[in-house]
């Protein structure tokens, strides 16, 4: 209203002088042709000016003698133009690349100018995640944000992505950031089952933050330190990923269409040997599932052998492509249509996205529908409201099982099959003529992968509604109150089927799990803004927040099915039901007081007090403060005309307190549903008609528990040179998390596994750097480069008294992720026995290495990460590429160890049938050592020992990698072609993701694979076992605007 009346006034003003002056008019638009509303046009040296209207049009009177027009608009470079003879002047403004006026979304959805902020924020534009878009928006962040580690766990369609900001701060898990959409927190729940369930044939079920459609994202701000987030309270301790969804742009009705079609295949498959048949020690054996140590194929030609499907004997022929041929070509359709409008009544955007992602694993598919509405209106000039509502329906079909100890683990039977098996034979021989399942081995212990794919699906479906409504009221011109209610409600059902007839579970079973989660978050904020004088202004915000999370997880296991393919609990001979529910609530009050001096010095004080339902009532209220400052020295000292166009220094300190999980305080008895049994599905209670109660395995903390505390300090600078052609953003941070609430393992002879206590300190310190360079910028050609660098150094400063080492999670046979005092989180396991000189000690009887003690085998997280991106535009063509480099850290691969132990990996060909003496030493009777001279009995013995469960070191690898993450090539139809048609713009692109694994030290598999998943402590460790290979995808994209 104000703008319009100003325009009217100016127009009237201009009209009054019309006789003595000429009038210049025209349209101001951005470089992409969008009209700019509210741009200011000023005749230099006069008070004559105008503001553009809704169509970007202006009209200004120019007195005689004046001939310069100054056109400016926030976020764009200001232009001074000479007024020529024409009275029509259309002006195109280029977007400003300096940070001076950049707006960022900060805590609680408050938009602030970036220059004011005393902490590091990285904003990723929605365009960047929509180009070469992954169906999973989190994947698109990889390599783009300093301080952020993105790890895609597997190639499962709809699989999970681990997100970690500035390292792991907690010993107790939950190290992931908080996700916030349009000011209200949403769930990133990633419950993959318990550790045992994950190891025993767990699937990658994905995480909830991935449900967001990339096409609905306007921008993503990554708030890294606790200082950025004191206003969100404890859950923002590990950073916040703020997602702002798209709103209608200014202007008329707009229809946007974005469609992609892509093909995918495994990025990497193992290198197999193709010279030896199945069996042991050179003897052919197809009954046992040990598939690579049999006779040499070239030596048994002309002979016939019993082999799959075990009906008749035949010759053995190598099938080098059998694994590759098992996989299909994956296809991905990703479509979005959005319609939006903005007018006097307000704005509205309605968007629908459909994703159909068929992975290369037969049958594995993700279908996702996203419907979102975002709109706002002003009821009066004081009262405004807006709402953002999103509905997601997701179905994951046939998610493959990973790990071990389950007959349904897929990769075990694909990678593990004999090199002579043909995929066509497998596909055509699921059952014999009597209907009995045919195993891959004569003993019928390992399932045909096609049998699993066809009969034993793991499906899940999610229905989710999230969004928020906010109402804004200007009580006084300088005083505003905002109320916001956000909710996120989701119901996920999972069905895990093991059909009757499955080898290893011959009677069949199925599991139904239902996960319901509801979060209700309310905020009430009062904001006062006051200009004290010309150079001093202040903002004072006080707020009130409640957060309520209800979680429910019910599980039914139905064992021993009567009729085939009927998955109704009544069709099972025994069922086992479990149910868990929890409620946690939090009430918080907060303030944020900021003052600005002369637009170049900013100072902020924040504070928050939380009261949590999960802590002892005497200790459940805790306050935490924060301070931050920002100083624009380029403005203060007027440097911006020189080579330094922008310079800012920032510093901040903040504290965050946090609470406990629900129900951890009291000593409680659990009604037991089942009882652990090795090898087989658990036995169930009641037994003999009797129910069972058991005491807790974790001794609760009782009433002494304190809230956890985290202190973060960071300093940084943002510099731009040569008008933004070179930009530097550098941060140093130091975070100390103490009073951690942790389960400390105790001797089981105490009667407990662990006790819950406040202990431990963890420090994460590091640097983050972002360098942007625009080496070439002409009218037609632009070339941009960016480098972002992250190095985090974690140290476990303190554990409980007398405790040097704490297991965070453990894998198989001695492998564990541990926190050791003085070290970062590491991967531990038994190393090879070595003498004091570090030489590997060889057993003189066998010539084999020996497993030694448990040792640290490496860091779980990389030492540093580097993302390198480049963009090149020539006229209407654009090309971009992103390379992601990670150095340091180790990974453990049971897939590699199994391939080697079974004699299937290519390297097991070396020295076969020859004398091999391993490098190492043997101990002499006098205690000295001599170089080993004892040959191994066979290479099967060597690799069997090398990959044996009793040692971990043999299967640990450096996890360094370099990957070409994405490449896009786009062509925008020139406006001269589209002009006059209903099409406003049209872009065609080629896009590719995970195109090339440039460098890796891990054999056979993707060095990023992991299968613990986001829900486990230490889950960010790269530990894998038959994880589905990651995908490489290439496709085309079409974007149109009408």
């Amino acid at each position: 209203m104000k703008q319009i009346s100003l325009t009217l006034m100016l127009v009237l003003f201009a009209m009054g002088f019309a006789l003595s002056q000429r009038t210049v008019s025209g349209t101001i638009s951005s470089s992409d042709g969008e009209p700019l509303i509210g741009a200011s046009v000023l005749v230099k040296g006069t008070n004559n000016g105008a503001v553009t209207d809704i169509d970007g049009k202006y009209s200004v009177s120019v007195p005689d003698g004046s001939n310069i027009l100054v056109v400016s608009y926030t976020g764009y470079n200001t232009l001074e133009l000479e007024i020529g003879a024409s009275n029509i002047m259309d002006v195109t403004l280029d977007e400003s690349s300096t940070l001076l006026d950049e707006i960022v979304v900060t805590a609680l959805g408050v938009e602030r100018e970036k220059k004011e902020l005393g902490y590091a924020v990285t904003t990723v534009d929605g365009e960047d995640v929509a180009n070469a878009r992954s169906g999973n928006v989190l994947e698109s962040l990889a390599g783009r944000v300093p301080g952020l580690r993105i790890n895609t766990s597997s190639g499962t369609a709809g699989g999970s992505v681990n997100v970690l900001i500035r390292g792991a701060n907690s010993l107790a898990g939950g190290n992931g950031p908080l996700f916030v959409v349009d000011g209200a927190p949403i769930s990133n729940n990633a419950f993959n089952g318990t550790r045992n369930e994950i190891i025993g044939g767990g699937v990658d079920v994905g995480n909830r933050a991935s449900d967001i459609s990339p096409d609905d994202i306007e921008s993503i701000s990554v708030l890294k330190g606790a200082s950025a987030v004191a206003l969100y309270g404890q859950r923002a301790r590990d950073g916040v990923i703020l997602i702002k969804t798209k709103r209608a742009r200014e202007g008329k009705i707009s229809v946007d269409l974005n469609t992609s079609f892509r093909f995918s295949n495994p990025l990497r498959l193992p290198d197999f040997q193709n010279e030896y048949a199945s069996g042991n020690f050179g003897q052919y054996d197809a009954d046992v599932f040990v598939n690579g140590w049999g006779p040499k194929l070239s030596e048994v030609q002309g002979q016939n052998f019993r082999q799959f499907p075990f009906t008749e004997e035949g010759p053995l022929t190598a099938q080098p492509d059998n694994v590759k041929d098992f996989f299909e070509t994956g296809t991905t359709f990703l479509n979005n249509i959005a319609i939006s409008t903005r007018g006097d009544m307000g704005d509205l955007r309605v968007s629908y996205s459909y994703l159909d992602d068929k992975s290369f694993v037969p049958g594995n598919e993700l279908q996702r529908n996203n419907l979102s509405i975002n709109g706002g209106t002003s009821f009066t000039n004081k009262l405004r409201a807006r709402a953002s509502i999103n509905y997601v329906r997701l179905e994951g079909l046939n998610r493959p099982r990973q790990g071990s100890n389950s007959p349904n683990v897929l990769l075990n039977s694909i990678y593990g099959m004999a090199r002579t098996m043909s995929v066509d034979d497998l596909r055509n021989n699921l059952q014999d003529e009597n209907g009995a399942t045919i195993g891959l081995d004569g003993n019928n212990t390992t399932n045909n992968p096609f049998y699993i794919v066809e009969n034993n699906p793991f499906n899940n479906a999610v229905d989710r509604l999230y969004g928020n409504v906010e109402v804004n009221y200007d009580i006084l011109p300088w005083l505003n109150v905002l109320g916001r209610v956000g909710t996120d409600v989701s119901r996920e059902s999972r069905r895990n089927i093991t059909s009757k007839g499955t080898l290893g579970a011959i009677n069949g079973l199925f599991e139904d799990r239902s996960i319901y989660r509801r979060e209700l978050n309310t905020d009430l904020m009062l904001t006062a803004r006051k200009d004290f004088n010309e150079s001093l202004s202040g903002t004072f915000l006080v707020g009130w927040n409640t957060n309520d999370i209800y979680f429910e997880n019910t599980r039914l296991v139905a064992n021993d099915l009567v009729a085939e393919k009927v998955y109704n609990p009544a069709n099972a001979l025994s069922t086992n039901n479990q149910r868990f529910e929890s409620t946690r609530r939090l009430v918080g009050g907060y303030f944020d007081f900021g003052i600005a001096y002369n637009d170049y010095l900013f100072f902020n004080v924040t504070g928050r007090n939380d009261v949590s339902s999960t802590l002892p009532k005497d200790n459940n209220s805790y306050f935490y403060p924060g301070v931050s400052t920002s100083f624009l020295f380029s403005e203060a000292f007027n440097l911006s005309d020189g080579p330094l166009s922008y310079g800012k220094f920032r510093a901040s300190f903040a504290q965050v307190g946090s609470d406990e999980l629900p129900y951890q305080l009291d000593f409680l008895f659990t009604p037991a549903a089942d009882i652990f049994t090795q090898f087989v599905p658990n036995n169930t209670f009641p037994i003999g008609g009797q129910s069972v109660f058991v005491g807790p395995d974790l001794l609760p903390a009782g009433q002494a528990l304190q809230p956890q505390a985290q202190n973060t300090f960071e300093i940084g600078t943002e510099l731009q040179f040569f008008n933004g052609r070179i930009g530097v953003d550098f941060t140093y941070y130091n975070t100390l998390t103490s009073e951690q609430i942790v389960s400390i393992s105790v001797a089981q002879s105490t009667g407990f596994d662990a006790i819950r206590q406040n202990v431990g300190k963890i420090r994460n310190s590091g640097i983050e750097g972002l360098l942007t360079v625009t080496p070439v910028k002409t009218k037609d050609i632009t070339w941009d480069l960016f480098f972002n660098y992250t190095a985090n150094n974690q140290e476990v400063v303190e554990l409980a008294e007398g405790l040097d080492d704490l297991a965070l999670t453990s894998g198989f046979s001695g492998l564990s992720v541990r926190a050791e005092k003085g070290e970062s989180f590491g991967l531990y396991g038994s190393a090879w026995a070595r003498n004091d000189d570090g030489d590997i000690i060889i057993d003189e009887a066998t010539g084999l290495r020996q497993a030694g003690d448990r040792e640290r085998l490496g860091n779980i997280l990389p030492d540093f990460q580097l993302g390198i991106g480049t963009g090149f535009t020539y006229k209407n063509f654009s090309l971009s590429a992103l390379v992601d480099i990670s150095v340091g850290g180790v990974m453990f691969s049971r897939t590699v160890s199994s391939l080697r132990g079974q004699g299937l990996a290519e390297e097991t060909l070396e020295n076969r049938g020859q004398i091999f003496i391993d490098e190492g030493v043997i101990e002499l009777p006098d205690g000295t050592f001599a170089p080993n001279n004892v040959p191994v009995r066979s290479m099967q013995d060597f690799w069997g020992n090398y990959t044996n469960n009793s040692n971990t070191e043999g299967s640990v690898f450096d996890a360094d990698f370099a990957k070409l993450r994405e490449v896009t090539l786009g062509y925008q139809l020139p406006t001269s072609v589209t002009k006059g048609t209903f099409i406003r713009s049209l872009t065609i692109g080629l896009e590719a993701r995970n195109l090339w694994l440039i460098h890796s030290k891990v054999p056979h598999i993707d060095p990023e694979a992991s299968f613990f998943g986001p829900s486990l402590i230490g889950g960010s460790a790269n530990v894998e076992f038959w994880s589905i290979p990651s995908a490489r995808s290439i496709g085309i994209n079409l974007k149109a605007q009408f």
Partner: protein
């Protein structure tokens, strides 16, 4: 104007302040209970014991003690390595965890529950089973936490001893005797126990619990007597007093044919091999011994090799890595009669056959004064009971007793003891804990060190589980090797 806002905000804060406390009062767990009666806790503990004994500990210990053989055919290490003394940390760890974290803790809680309601019988049932579990722990590992184990103040929720001491085995076994005495003293047959339906072993029959407790005491004394000969007197006294398990009093934990309550060893074979036993075979010493004596239990124990015209039972040598394919296997559900492997095969905790044979041993060795003739009678009663448990035909039992078991009175004490020891060992085909313990006392029959064994001597104990050793600062700093004898193992 401003007053109005002020009053409104004040009111607002008051409303928020008062409702806040209720709003946050949601930390009571709806999934769990603040207390539990002793019965359901007791059921959990005994089920845990037998489940562990049948599947976690059982097969591994059975092969290590050469009651069974892994046969080596499948190359499935988890099934074959224990007989070369390479125990999975899951086998030892799961057993230790079941013993302490589950059984002992839950029984301690049930004892408190029984005391709270003033039920001495329920308390006795719990204490007797605690003693039985401590006995099981120490015969496997020797020095183990006893006096300071489960030292918890359940009211303040604090562990008093975070690093329970590893008590010498002699003290643990003395403690077991004391616990049993405490339990026996608490028993009052004139009143009912609250643990009746929950008592899957004796259904709350306290006179049977008294017999069971006395038999456990007797078994413990017989275990101790080689190292502590002063126990001979009490052994003799107990034999003459009697009041121990008699025929029909067997302590048995039942499994059920209902899915979910089935014998987990049967469950393993059923799940992995469709009911066929591809994993465990008869040990050759056991098989040859039984064949030599024409033992009628042979076909109840082992399934003959189905191939060929003359089906025959054969055993596999211990530790052998590549036994010819399709060897002779433990009987599966296809064989008639009470079988070792079936869904409702129970876990036998203490049969009369063992009681009778131990009494015979006490007499033969002179701890009890009833003499060799009475010893002969007890042995034959024990063998008959053992055979009846497998539904062996009465004439076959008589034939066996007449032709294969010499009259003990005609033998030297040592030879008589050897006959008894052999019978104890054969009877323990699915009771490896007792079979292995009694074998260590007698070392009869002679058993070879298996091919590929990790030590040059026979295994005398299990390795301690790493979890306990790593977490307990009172654990021995130098770990014994598996061929080091325990205190009791002193014949």
């Amino acid at each position: 104007m401003y007053n109005k806002y002020f009053i409104l905000s004040l009111l607002f804060l008051v409303v928020l302040g008062t409702s806040c406390e209720d709003y946050l009062d949601v930390n009571e767990d709806p999934n769990r209970a603040t207390s539990a009666p002793p019965g359901p806790v007791f059921t959990g503990a005994i089920t845990q014991y037998s489940t562990n004994r049948v599947i976690d500990l059982g097969p591994a210990l059975s092969t290590a003690a050469q009651l069974w053989s892994g046969g080596g055919t499948l190359g499935a290490g988890v099934f074959t390595r224990p007989e070369q003394y390479n125990f999975s940390i899951f086998t030892t760890g799961n057993t230790w965890r079941a013993y302490y974290r589950d059984i002992q803790k839950d029984l301690s809680l049930a004892v408190i529950g029984a005391q709270e309601i003033g039920d001495p019988n329920a308390e006795a049932q719990c204490k007797i089973f605690q003693a039985f579990t401590f006995y099981s722990t120490t015969v496997l590992w020797g020095d183990v936490p006893f006096s300071e184990a489960i030292n918890v103040d359940f009211t303040t929720i604090e562990i008093n001893t975070l690093n329970p001491a590893f008590d010498p085995q002699q003290e643990v076994l003395e403690g077991v005797l004391n616990l049993l005495d405490e339990g026996i003293a608490l028993i009052d047959e004139t009143r009912p126990t609250v643990i009746t339906a929950n008592d899957l072993i004796y259904k709350g029959d306290m006179s049977k619990w008294r017999k069971f407790a006395r038999s456990l005491k007797f078994r413990t004394l017989m275990t101790m007597v080689d190292a502590d000969p002063t126990k001979a007197d009490e052994i003799g006294r107990m034999v003459s007093e009697g009041g121990m398990i008699e025929a029909g009093d067997d302590a048995i934990f039942p499994f059920f044919s209902d899915p979910g309550n089935q014998n987990p060893f049967w469950g393993t074979l059923n799940t992995f091999a469709g009911g066929a036993n591809l994993f465990y075979f008869g040990g050759d010493v056991m098989v040859e011994l039984m064949k030599a004596d024409n033992d009628p239990r042979l076909l109840a124990y082992f399934e003959p090799y189905p191939g060929g015209s003359d089906p025959e039972v054969m055993g596999a040598p211990a530790g052998v890595q590549s036994f010819p394919s399709n060897p002779w296997v433990l009987t599966t559900s296809g064989v008639s009669g009470p079988e070792l492997v079936r869904p409702d095969a129970p876990d036998v905790l203490f049969p009369y056959s063992e009681q009778a044979m131990l009494e015979a041993e006490a007499m033969v060795r002179g701890f009890a004064s009833e003499g060799l003739a009475e010893a002969d009678t007890r042995l034959r009663a024990g063998i008959t009971d053992a055979m009846n448990n497998y539904d062996i035909d009465a004439t076959a039992i008589t034939d066996y007793l007449d032709n294969s078991i010499p009259d003990l009175t005609t033998l030297s004490a040592d030879d008589a003891r050897a006959i008894i020891a052999e019978q104890l060992w054969i009877d323990c085909i699915i009771r490896p804990l007792e079979g292995y313990t009694h074998w260590r006392r007698a070392e009869i029959p002679a058993l070879p060190v298996p091919e590929g064994a990790l030590t040059t001597n026979f295994i005398r104990r299990l390795p301690y589980p790493p979890d306990e050793i790593n977490a307990n600062t009172s654990a021995p700093s130098v770990l014994p090797t598996v061929d080091e004898r325990l205190w009791f193992d002193n014949n």
